[in-house]
């Protein structure tokens, strides 16, 4: 397996979740660590983001899957850009009865200067339930992590354009950050759809 920086980050997130997310009682707020409180850059942990998106989460399991070369090629054709990795780590929150509430995938795309790390949460039917920005590292363009912008992604699926000036309203002065999120959300949805097509999900 080729571990890029993104994969390393995802792996650390996976360890983070494994250490503290199972089991999590419904309604119990996750406590940020002192390091997180001290840093205004890390807005949400993956665990917190999942609890923001779904209520009644009792546990979270994870699935690590690899996209086939054909699936990678198809995604590249749709997006016009190759994916940085063929590995997809899917978090699956479950309620107290063990029912899967949806799927969550962490993505990372470069804005103007630095990577934006975000989490896409979908329904079991792979429609976006919400997007949460976990880490935003730039001085300008931070409006992309505000709810009034992120709510635009709700209900999007892999067939949605997710394009600026089509179904996503741009933020002036944060065009590259908006494009990065558009690309990242679409990439996550296409990856999940490929896995569902292959009956991995």
């Amino acid at each position: 397996m080729r571990f890029s920086r993104l994969n390393a980050w995802l792996a650390s997130s996976l360890i983070f979740l494994a250490e503290r997310a199972v089991p999590v009682r419904a309604g119990e707020p996750a406590r940020p660590s002192e390091a997180e409180i001290g840093s205004i850059q890390h807005y949400l942990t993956p665990d917190q983001a999942i609890h923001e998106i779904w209520t009644g989460v009792a546990s979270i399991d994870t699935l690590m899957a690899r996209l086939t070369p054909q699936e990678m090629a198809s995604i590249k054709k749709t997006l016009g850009q190759a994916a940085p990795s063929d590995t997809v780590i899917v978090f699956r929150p479950r309620d107290a009865h063990g029912t899967v509430l949806g799927h969550a995938v962490i993505g990372e795309e470069i804005g103007k200067y630095r990577p934006i790390t975000f989490l896409v949460g979908t329904s079991p039917d792979l429609e976006v339930r919400n997007v949460e920005v976990l880490v935003y590292r730039e001085s300008r363009g931070g409006e992309v992590r505000f709810p009034r912008f992120l709510r635009q992604y709700r209900g999007k699926s892999f067939v949605s354009p997710i394009r600026t000036n089509r179904d996503i309203i741009n933020i002036a002065g944060a065009t590259l950050s908006v494009n990065a999120l558009n690309l990242g959300v679409k990439r996550v949805l296409l990856s999940l759809e490929a896995l569902r097509d292959r009956k991995v999900l």
Partner: protein, 376 residues
């Protein structure tokens, strides 16, 4: 005129031809616009312009602007842009009209979304375009007249201040920037006419002991809509006795494939017309601009591509105290973006003006601009 039509056709052909095959490299350098090494990022933008009109035609490597951005710590960021204009300065006997300068270099210290410190060479938040001026971001090659003659874009000044944004409700967002800066210098007024471009102050030394203030307050009631008011005020002469104030109002509205921009500015400067006689130089201008984005992803090998039709109406009055000395411009543009980061622009410009104390407009001059601009 037919020569200009030919240029338009050539520009459109250049913009749309030859994209059947995507670059074969899958290197991350070609997927990501910027290089990141450790805590620093290196990137930038550049453009190439072609001008044609009654005065002749020429290529112009207008801007090459590398930027360096560093995340010193979670709360401390350094951002800078170094601007090479018109090829920069060339060593040797031949004089050039190039320029190399630091467009901005700031250290930002983040306290909270609503309160941050910024110091260094600052992009003055006077109007919207002065801050958001990257050529790959703009849909027309030439900047608006009001942002050349009333607001001297790109205006960057040395100073420090605060900026931030906060939501009053989930939808209503307020953002602000306010800085104390060195301000303009004596040459901002020449022969009773305001010329802030000539009067942009030194970055290393204030010409008087009086600082200026520049700030902008933006209000966005919902996503895609924003209204901003900004002001630059302070003494500009060496004695610190004469005030220069430029105030601006800007607005943006976006919905679906449509986007509308507007900006107006008014400049006023006191000056001593003759010993003991105080007068005021005034200039004003505005622009209205509309964009329509279409055929998004219609070219199959380029799924991120989009075409944009743009139109802008410009007006500027260089001296409000006399008849004449004003200029109008209509610009029609057709752009092709391969991705949002790279744009080919084709613009037709229709200019007319009035000389001092003349009430009739001159004949309309037609010109053409082609440019390619990209982030890297």
């Amino acid at each position: 005129m037919w020569r200009i039509v030919g240029f338009v056709g050539l520009g459109l052909w250049v913009a749309s031809a030859g994209w059947a095959e995507a670059p074969s490299s899958t290197s991350p350098l070609y997927q990501k616009p910027f290089l990141i090494k450790g805590r620093a990022s290196l990137g930038g933008y550049m453009d190439l312009e072609f001008h044609a009109g009654d005065e002749g035609s020429t290529f112009d490597p207008h801007r090459f602007v590398p930027f360096i951005y560093a995340e010193v710590s979670d709360r401390v960021h350094v951002a800078s842009e170094i601007e090479y204009e018109h090829g920069g300065e060339v060593a040797g006997d031949e004089e050039t009209d190039g320029e190399i300068s630091i467009e901005f270099a700031t250290v930002d210290v983040k306290a909270a979304d609503a309160l941050n410190f910024r110091g260094g060479i600052i992009l003055s938040p006077l109007g919207r375009l002065n801050v958001y001026h990257d050529s790959p971001m703009l849909d027309l090659t030439e900047r608006p007249l009001v942002d050349r003659d009333v607001i001297p874009t790109t205006l960057s000044e040395t100073g420090l201040g605060l900026y931030g944004s906060f939501g009053l409700t989930e939808m209503l967002l307020v953002n602000y920037e306010g800085y104390i800066v060195n301000g303009f210098k004596d040459s901002a007024v020449e022969d009773g006419v305001l010329d802030p471009h000539e009067g942009a102050g030194s970055k290393s030394e204030d010409n008087n002991n009086s600082r200026a203030f520049v700030g902008r307050l933006g209000l966005s009631p919902w996503l895609g809509t924003e209204v901003g008011v900004s002001v630059h005020t302070g003494d500009y002469d060496s004695l610190g006795a004469q005030n220069l104030t430029i105030s601006a109002l800007d607005a943006r509205f976006a919905t679906g494939p449509f986007e509308f921009l507007a900006e107006g500015a008014l400049g006023r400067a006191d000056y001593e017309a003759s010993p003991g006689v105080e007068e005021t130089a005034e200039s004003a201008g505005f622009y209205l601009e509309g964009h329509f984005h279409f055929l998004s992803g219609a070219i199959r090998p380029l799924p991120q591509s989009v075409f944009t039709a743009a139109a802008r109406l410009d007006y500027v009055d260089h001296d409000q105290n006399v008849d004449g000395l004003d200029q109008e411009r209509l610009t029609l543009g057709l752009n092709f973006r391969i991705t949002e980061e790279t744009v080919f622009k084709n613009d037709l410009l229709f200019d007319r003006g009035r000389a001092l104390d003349v009430s009739d407009w001159d004949d309309t001059q037609t010109a053409y601009r082609f440019s390619v601009a990209t982030y890297f």
